[in-house]
C-alpha cells in the first residue's frame, strides 16, 4: 500500500494492467521516452519496451484513428491526448468510428480503447490547456466518459475503463494531479463504472459534482456544516452514462440540489442532470435546482482563471439559496 498522488495512481494502473494483459498498449505524444509531459507514463517504456509504449507524431486524428483500428482487431490501446484542448482533431474519429463500431458491425466488432486526456483549468497554463468540454463526448452515444476525482478512483476507474469492451474517454483533472496523496493498494481491483460515489452524507442539500471541483465542493460542505447545514456530496465519476438513481434518491432525502462543474454553463452536463431530476424527482424538490458553473466565455488565462472556476463561496451561496425557500 502506498500513498500516491492522482497522477501516480494513473501510472500505477497503467503499469498493473500492462503487466497483466499483453494486449494493453500505450500511445501518444511524448509518452514513451519523455514519460509524458505530466509524467503519467513515466517508466513504462523502459519497462515494457517501445513496441508497447509508443511515441506518436503530433497528430491527434491519427492517434485516435490508429487506436480504433488496433482496438477493433483485439488490442487494448490506451492513447493519450496531451491536453483536452488538443482532442478536437480526434473527435471525428471518436464520434464517427469509435462510438459506432458495435452498431456499424452489428456487434461483430467492438472498440475497447481508452482515450486519456488531462482536462480542466487552474494551473495557470497557456491557451488550449484548460479545456473542460466533457459535454461534447457525453452527448455522443457509444462513448463512455469517466472522470476520477481521487487517487483511489483514478486507479480503480482506469482499470475498469481499460477492461471495458467499449470506448472510454478518461478525463484526468490536472489541477488535482498532485494536490493530495491517498493510500492506494496496487491490487488490480477495478471500481464500478456507471455509478456515482457519495463522498459525504447529509440531509439538507445535495451537491453533485466531478473532477477537480470535488475539492471545492467538499470544502463548501465543511464550511456549511459549521453553520449547521448538512450537505450530501456526490461525485458523478461516470459522466455518461449517467447514474441518475443515486442522485434522485439523495434528492428524495434532501429536496434540494446544487450541481457544480467548472465547464461552461450553456448545455453543460449539469443541464442534463437538472432535466433528469426535474423529470423524475419533481415532487421531491423544495426549491429550484441550482447550477454553479464556469461562465459562457473562453477559459481565461492566468489572472482571471480563479474568477472563472467555481469557488467555495459561490457553491455555498447557491446551496444557501436553495434553503432560503
Amino acid at each position: 500500500m502506498a500513498k500516491v498522488t492522482l497522477i501516480e495512481a494513473v501510472t500505477m494502473a497503467l503499469a498493473h494492467e500492462m503487466e497483466r494483459d499483453e494486449s494493453v498498449i500505450v500511445l501518444g505524444e511524448d509518452v514513451g521516452v519523455n514519460g509524458g509531459v505530466f509524467r503519467a507514463t513515466a517508466g513504462l517504456q523502459q519497462r515494457f519496451g517501445p513496441d508497447r509504449v509508443m511515441d506518436t507524431p503530433l497528430a491527434e486524428a491519427m492517434i485516435a484513428g490508429a487506436s480504433i483500428g488496433m482496438a477493433a482487431q483485439g488490442m487494448k490501446p490506451v492513447c493519450e491526448m496531451q491536453f483536452m484542448g488538443f482532442i478536437y482533431p480526434a473527435v471525428d474519429q471518436m464520434i464517427n468510428h469509435a462510438g459506432r463500431m458495435r452498431h456499424r458491425t452489428r456487434g461483430r466488432l467492438h472498440c475497447p480503447m481508452v482515450l486519456r486526456a488531462p482536462f480542466g483549468g487552474g494551473i495557470h497554463a497557456p491557451e488550449h490547456h484548460s479545456e473542460s468540454t466533457e459535454a461534447l463526448f457525453a452527448h455522443m452515444p457509444g462513448i463512455r466518459v469517466v472522470i476520477p476525482s481521487s487517487p483511489q478512483r483514478a486507479y480503480g476507474l482506469l482499470l475498469a475503463s481499460i477492461r471495458d469492451p467499449d470506448p472510454v474517454v478518461f478525463l484526468e483533472p490536472k489541477r488535482i494531479y498532485r494536490l493530495q496523496k491517498q493510500e492506494v493498494q496496487d491490487d488490480g481491483k477495478a471500481m464500478p463504472l456507471d455509478v456515482c460515489y457519495t463522498l459525504r452524507e447529509g440531509d439538507d442539500v445535495t451537491l453533485v459534482t466531478w473532477g477537480a471541483m470535488t475539492f471545492e465542493t467538499l470544502k463548501a460542505a465543511t464550511a456549511m456544516a459549521e453553520e449547521g447545514i448538512s450537505c450530501e456530496v456526490i461525485d458523478l465519476a461516470t459522466i455518461s452514462p449517467l447514474d441518475l438513481d443515486t442522485i434522485l434518491e439523495s434528492v428524495e432525502k434532501t429536496g434540494r440540489l446544487v450541481i457544480v462543474h467548472e465547464a461552461a454553463r450553456n448545455c453543460g452536463v449539469g443541464a442534463e442532470i437538472a432535466a433528469g431530476v426535474a423529470e423524475k424527482g419533481l415532487y421531491d424538490l423544495e426549491a429550484p435546482i441550482q447550477r454553479v458553473t464556469g461562465y459562457d466565455t473562453v477559459m481565461p488565462l492566468f489572472r482571471m482563471e480563479y474568477q472563472y472556476l467555481p469557488s467555495v463561496r459561490r457553491i455555498v451561496d447557491a446551496a444557501k439559496a436553495t434553503l432560503e425557500d
Binding site: 519523455n34 509531459v37 505530466f38 497557456p126 459525504r200 438513481d245 428524495e252 432525502k253 421531491d284 424538490l285
Partner: protein
C-alpha cells in the same frame, strides 16, 4: 538588483539561442518592454522585461545559446538591496525547477501538496431507503405556502402518495388543539411514518380531536346459520339492514358547520391489515349487491391488497366502516369512528358461548359486536335501533 533567468518558453524546451538584444547594459527599461528575441526549436520569441529599472548586466550575447533557467540579465530596480539570488523572480518560471521531483515539462503552475486525502466514498446503486418527506409538485407547494398550510398535515391522495392541488384546496385545518409539550423520544433512530401508517396517524388524530364517540356492545347468536355462510358477507348485509332500520348512522357529519348529510347509498370501508399498515378499501353500493357479488368484491380486495395495487380512489368516499378484527384475537372493542362518517361496526372473534335457553344451558356460536357512533349527531336510541337491525339480520339462518 534582480536577476532574471531564461524562462521556459514553451513545453519544456531546454535552451534557446539569443537572436537580438533590444537593450544594452546601462539602458533604462520599463516593465513589459521588449528586451530580446530568442529562437527556440519552435519559433522566434520576444521576451519582455519583467521589471522596470536599469540594465546592469547581460549574461550572454547575440548568437549564444542559453539553457532554460540560467541567468540572462540583471536589472537594478533600485528597490534596495539584497544581493541578486538565483531564485526565480518571474512568474513565468516552470514548476520543474520549483519542486524537487521531476514533475513534468508543462508551462504553468500546478498546485502541489503532500496533504493526505482521507475520504469515504460509497458507490451508488440500488440503495432503497424510506425518505419520509412529503411529495408535492412545486406549484402545489407554493399554493400550500400561500395558504399557510403545512403539507405534512394534508392527507395525500395523488399517485405515489403525492399531495395534489385538490388536496390542498379541500383541506380544512382541524380546530386548534390545546397546546401541549411535545413528547420527547429517548435517543435512537426515529423513522418518519409514511404511506398508510401516516394516513392512519392523521386520521385517528383527527377523530380524537373532533368525534365524541360512544360504543355499544352486544352479540349476535348465529347458531341457526345454514352451513357455508361467509361471515364478512353476512356482516356487510347486516349493516345494510341496520341502515334500513335506522338511517341516521349512514352518512356524514361536519362538526365545524354542524351539518349532517345522510345517504341512501351504503358504501362500506373494510379495514384490512397489511404489512405496510391499515388500509380501508371500499365496497360500493352494498345495498344493491348479491352475496356472490360481495364475495367477488372481497376476493378482489384481497388480491389487490397482496399485490399492493389498491388505488387511493378505492379508499375514498365511504359512508360506513366495518372492522372484522376477530380472526386473531379480541372480543369487544371501541373502534374509532373515521370522520366525516358517523359510525363504525367492529366484529370480534366468533366463539362458542354458554347461553341460557328456556331454563336450560346450551353452547351457541355468537359474534361479539361493538358499535361506535359519533354522539354529536346520533342518539343512543338511533344507535340501538341500528344495532338491533344488524343483529336481527345476522341471526337469520341465511
Amino acid at each position: 538588483m534582480k536577476t532574471f533567468n531564461l524562462p521556459d518558453l514553451g513545453e519544456g524546451l531546454p535552451e534557446a539561442e539569443i537572436v537580438t538584444w533590444h537593450v544594452q547594459e546601462g539602458d533604462e527599461v520599463v516593465l513589459d518592454q521588449p528586451m530580446l528575441s530568442v529562437e527556440t526549436a519552435k519559433a522566434v520569441v520576444e521576451v519582455p522585461s519583467p521589471f522596470s529599472g536599469r540594465v546592469a548586466k547581460l549574461y550572454a550575447g547575440e548568437g549564444d545559446i542559453v539553457e532554460t533557467g540560467k541567468p540572462l540579465i540583471d536589472i537594478d530596480t533600485g528597490s534596495g538591496g539584497s544581493a541578486a539570488t538565483a531564485a526565480p523572480a518571474s512568474a513565468d518560471q516552470s514548476p520543474a525547477e520549483a519542486s524537487a521531483a521531476d514533475s513534468g515539462t508543462v508551462v504553468g503552475s500546478m498546485p502541489v501538496s503532500d496533504e493526505e486525502l482521507i475520504e469515504t466514498a460509497v458507490a451508488g446503486g440500488k440503495r432503497r431507503r424510506t425518505a419520509g418527506r412529503v411529495k408535492a409538485a412545486p406549484a402545489v407547494r407554493a399554493l400550500a405556502k400561500k395558504r399557510g398550510i403545512d403539507l405534512a398535515d394534508v392527507p395525500p391522495t395523488g399517485r405515489g402518495d403525492r399531495v395534489t392541488r385538490e388536496d390542498v384546496e379541500n383541506f380544512r385545518p382541524r380546530p386548534a388543539v390545546r397546546k401541549r409539550t411535545p413528547v420527547q423520544l429517548p435517543p435512537g433512530e426515529p423513522v418518519r411514518l409514511r404511506g398508510p401508517r401516516r394516513a392512519m396517524a392523521q386520521s385517528m388524530g383527527l377523530s380524537r380531536d373532533e368525534v365524541c364517540a360512544c360504543t355499544i356492545f352486544d352479540d349476535a347468536d348465529i347458531h341457526g346459520w345454514m352451513p357455508g355462510q361467509d361471515i364478512t358477507t353476512r356482516l356487510l348485509r347486516a349493516i345494510v339492514a341496520g341502515c334500513q332500520a335506522e338511517p341516521a348512522l349512514n352518512g356524514f357529519y361536519d362538526g365545524a358547520a354542524m351539518t349532517r348529510q345522510l345517504e341512501s347509498r351504503v358504501d362500506i370501508a373494510i379495514a384490512v391489515d397489511t404489512p405496510d399498515g391499515l388500509i380501508v378499501p371500499v365496497i360500493r353500493r352494498v345495498e344493491q349487491k348479491s352475496a356472490e357479488e360481495l364475495r367477488d368484491d372481497l376476493d378482489s380486495i384481497k388480491t389487490k391488497t397482496r399485490a399492493r395495487t389498491v388505488a387511493p380512489e378505492e379508499m375514498k368516499d365511504f359512508t360506513f366502516t366495518l372492522s372484522n378484527f376477530g380472526m386473531m384475537a379480541g372480543r369487544y372493542a371501541t373502534p374509532v369512528v373515521v370522520p366525516p362518517t358517523i359510525a363504525i361496526l367492529g366484529a370480534g372473534g366468533v366463539r362458542h358461548d354458554v347461553v341460557p335457553v328456556l331454563g336450560g344451558i346450551e353452547t351457541h356460536r355468537r359474534i361479539p359486536l361493538s358499535l361506535s357512533f359519533d354522539h354529536r349527531c346520533a342518539t343512543g336510541g338511533e344507535a340501538c335501533r341500528f344495532l338491533a337491525g344488524v343483529i336481527g339480520d345476522l341471526q337469520r339462518t341465511s
